[in-house]
């Protein structure tokens, strides 16, 4: 009997593998004892991805960075690894069942995205900043899904946001971890002038920050563009809130590229070469997927259909 493989599951497995690999390289460079936790969490995430309706089980872990002071690699694990199965669960939920009051869900989600963006604008603690960033991206995924479900375009909007967020968000997490010397400086203003500590990784951090801002030419812009274009067809109000959210997100994420480039030059630091190469690869992915949006559409509609 031939089992039909759900190609979206393959896509999410690939995204989870990229995140796992990135965090593994980070742990190898900075804290090898954390690899055990990473492996346990990674295996749990892969297994949960197989059992779709339980894929949300890990998601309470995403709240931990807000309540508990934890080491930087744990923040990354708790934010990135549960986010991907959760996005898969939401995709399955929206594609198999009809959600009532879908317009209201989309509107409410857009307001929550704005609210988390505002909290992020005024946050100086990197832990909480990353928590707000991760949470609002998950709500962006929910917004994409509700707009996609309302417009009947789940094939495009279903996975585009999580695809782009995994690449840009992982790069953001990794490069800030390197620049902050594995969480030695956990306040945003302490990152002043740290572009000069490690120019390659700081450049990666700047590009991922600009991508999360939604700058045209980088990958997150593509998903935001599709979202707003389709949302405008079903309800222009969602686009209005979306544009407001984009404005707030600009202020929130632009803090990082800005703060890295101003201030006195800081002494240079040594970084793992493998990790830097991985970051540069992610950086290229951000740029290529941004410059060629049709590549994303091809991936989502032809390859992973």
């Amino acid at each position: 009997m031939i089992e039909i493989i759900n190609m979206f599951e393959v896509l999410f497995c690939a995204l989870l593998s990229i995140s796992f690999l990135g965090i593994l390289l980070y742990c190898l460079a900075y804290k090898r004892t954390s690899i055990a936790y990473l492996v346990v969490l990674g295996i749990a995430a892969f297994i949960l991805l197989r059992y779709v309706w339980f894929a949300w089980v890990l998601s309470p872990l995403m709240l931990l960075p807000f309540f508990k002071k934890m080491r930087y690699e744990f923040i990354m694990m708790c934010c990135m690894l549960p986010a991907i199965p959760l996005a898969y669960f939401l995709l399955e939920l929206f594609s198999t069942s009809s959600i009532p009051f879908i317009g209201w869900v989309a509107l409410f989600t857009a307001v929550i995205v704005c609210a988390f963006g505002i909290l992020g604008v005024f946050e100086n603690d990197i832990r909480k900043y990353l928590f707000y960033s991760n949470t609002l991206q998950i709500f962006f995924v929910l917004l994409d899904l509700s707009v996609g479900a309302a417009a009947g375009k789940l094939d495009i909007l279903g996975a585009i946001q999580i695809l782009n967020y995994t690449i840009a968000g992982l790069l953001f997490f990794l490069s800030i971890g390197i620049i902050s010397r594995n969480g030695m400086y956990m306040e945003i203003d302490k990152l002043e002038g740290r572009y000069y500590s490690d120019k390659k990784n700081a450049a990666c951090s700047i590009i991922s920050g600009l991508s999360l801002v939604g700058l045209p030419g980088l990958n997150i812009f593509v998903s935001e563009f599709f979202l707003f274009a389709i949302a405008f067809e079903i309800n222009p109000l969602i686009s209005i809130l979306g544009v407001f959210a984009a404005l707030i997100l600009f202020i929130m994420y632009f803090k990082i590229p800005y703060v890295l480039l101003v201030g006195r030059e800081q002494p240079t630091i040594k970084t793992s070469k493998t990790l830097t190469m991985f970051n540069i690869a992610l950086c290229f992915a951000c740029i290529i997927l941004g410059i060629f949006p049709q590549l994303q559409i091809f991936l989502l509609t032809e390859v992973f259909i």
Binding site: W104, N124, D189, E192, I240, V259
Partner: protein, 51 residues
């Protein structure tokens, strides 16, 4: 001990080493931004109910 003043980027207000501009804190405050968000969402809810 002098209380740390809040700035846009969270730097200490009187430290000469901080070069981050504080232009935003004159225009943006958390309350004002949440106020704008509340206004936009109230408008959106009204229009949705009307539609």
């Amino acid at each position: 001990m002098k209380k740390k003043e809040s700035t846009y980027l969270g730097g200490e207000a009187d430290s000469p080493e901080k070069v981050a501009p504080r232009i935003f804190e004159h225009f943006l405050s958390k309350k004002a931004m949440f106020g704008v968000l509340a206004m936009i969402s109230a408008f959106a809810v009204l229009v949705m109910l009307w539609m």
